[in-house]
């Protein structure tokens, strides 16, 4: 029993071994492909679709249910279906990442857009802003804290999706380290791999927060009228 729960020191040692013999780098070379592609697609498409849904009642009616379904669907059970359609390659894995990451990005973006204070939009109209000005200079910056909150949640979900894909579709990359070392009862390596993905996610989320603070200085201070 205790053999399945290695000590912290054992895990860290295994982590350094995996890192120094290059296994980790090769693994991440594989894992990052669907992860980065999936997260990028989810972020750009997700914010775009979220914006459209937030601005238009028709698109809200048309598309919102799709993302609610995506968010609540039991993904693990659907993976065999994806594999049947798209095979065991990168496409299926990217799909899994997107299904995990996109709904929360879309739903947060559309909610944030819809909740832009009416008075600053009215201000934009009164001062002769074009539709484009109002979206780019008022609605997007106003919605950005919640859009970024959605991005953070989406990216975390994307990390889960990437590993899930590697465990359920074909064992490659970090998912391979996890399942292989479990099969040979090398538990320290398994936990080291899990730890590495958490570490990477934390670093990534931190970078994202820095980007947000850099782009929208002051937005976090709340509305002056409140």
């Amino acid at each position: 029993m205790s053999y399945s729960f290695p000590t912290f020191v054992e895990t860290i040692t295994a982590f350094w071994v995996l890192l120094l013999d290059g296994t980790m780098f090769v693994a991440y070379g594989e894992t990052l492909k669907p992860l980065v592609v999936g997260v990028l697609i989810s972020a750009f498409l997700g914010i775009g679709i979220g914006l459209t849904i937030g601005l238009s009642k028709k698109f809200d009616w048309l598309l919102s249910p799709v993302f609610v379904v995506m968010q609540t669907a039991p993904l693990a059970a659907l993976i065999p279906l994806l594999v049947m359609i798209y095979g065991i390659g990168l496409t299926s894995k990217v799909f899994v990442v997107c299904i995990m990451a996109m709904p929360v990005i879309v739903l947060n973006t559309s909610g944030a857009v819809r909740n832009t204070p009416a008075s600053i939009i009215e201000m934009g109209q009164a001062f002769l802003g074009t539709k484009r000005d109002i979206i780019l200079k008022i609605i997007l910056p106003a919605a950005s804290p919640i859009i970024f909150a959605g991005l953070r949640l989406g990216v975390s979900a994307g990390f889960i999706g990437a590993i899930l894909a590697e465990l359920k579709i074909t064992p490659t990359g970090v998912g391979d380290i996890i399942s292989y070392s479990r099969s040979i009862a090398d538990y320290p390596s398994m936990y080291a791999a899990i730890m590495s993905i958490i570490l990477l996610a934390v670093i990534f989320l931190n970078v994202l927060e820095r980007i947000e603070n850099f782009l929208f200085k002051g937005t976090r201070q709340g509305y002056a009228s409140e």
Binding site: F127, L128, T130
Partner: protein, 258 residues
């Protein structure tokens, strides 16, 4: 005091305007003229449609029927001849005072150095020199509204539409604002349309007070408090005509206040 405005050049005219929100009648056959270079208040109990009327003049809301003209041109939407001051200031929280004040010009496509030079002047005029790089959350309510006022002044519109601009600031700041507004009306050659629910405020700052009553919404009376207009800002509040008009308006409004 007189109700005769026929010989006055009107900057804004509103004729036979109707506006419904679903089944609710907000404005019914409302007509009102706004003399150029003067301040007209829209005064009335809540629900009388005064903000609706202001937004229709601004072009932010369409009227169901009737005509609004600004400088004899019919209003079809927001225009460069009108600027709006908002009750809740409507500042961009992520933008500095400078960008907020210059935002109206930014939306009009004025280049950065030019619009910042103009904004700089009005920031000074409203007394916010030194706060150019502050964010709205760092300012008091009164200062935020000064930013809103500077933004409206900087686009140099002939008509200034003010929607209860002082209602969200504290009483002392409000008094100071009212005195400043008197000077503004005197010095800037602009037409002011001012929505308020404060009788004292309306009588204090206005050349013309239009009293709006609800159910159905209409202009019940137009009062022109002229007798004390020449007096200095501090002695108006003790003027007997001022006090009489305040009393008279309250007498006609009190039955409409639940």
């Amino acid at each position: 005091m007189s109700n005769n405005t026929n010989d006055i050049d009107n900057a804004v005219t509103v004729s036979n305007v109707y506006k419904n929100y679903g089944d609710v009648e907000a404005l019914r056959d409302l007509s009102l003229d706004f003399p150029r270079g003067q301040l007209t208040s829209l005064l009335g109990p809540s629900g009388c449609g005064k903000t609706t009327l202001l937004k229709i003049i601004a072009g932010l809301l369409p009227a169901d029927s009737g005509e609004i003209t600004v400088n004899s041109q019919p209003v079809t939407g927001p225009g460069p001849d009108r600027a709006f001051v908002f009750q809740d200031f409507a500042l961009l929280p992520w933008a500095t005072v400078m960008r907020n004040v210059a935002f109206g010009l930014e939306l009009r496509g004025v280049n950065q150095s030019e619009r910042e030079a103009i904004a700089e002047k009005y920031i000074g005029d409203v007394g916010l020199k030194g706060f150019e790089n502050s964010y709205p959350h760092e300012l008091s309510g009164g200062m935020r509204q000064r930013v809103g006022l500077a933004r409206a002044l900087s686009v140099d519109a002939q008509v200034l539409l003010m929607d209860e601009p002082f209602s969200a600031v504290d009483e002392q700041t409000r008094r100071k604002f009212q005195e400043d507004l008197l000077n503004l009306v005197k010095n800037e050659n602009k037409t002011f349309i001012f929505v308020t629910h404060s009788i004292e405020e309306a009588v204090y700052v206005s050349d013309q007070v239009a009293i709006l009553l609800p159910r159905p919404s209409r202009v019940s009376e137009i009062i022109r408090p002229e007798g004390f207009r020449h007096k200095d800002a501090t002695s108006i509040r003790r003027d007997s005509e001022y006090l009489d008009i305040v009393d008279r308006i309250w007498a006609s409004l009190r039955t409409y206040v639940e």
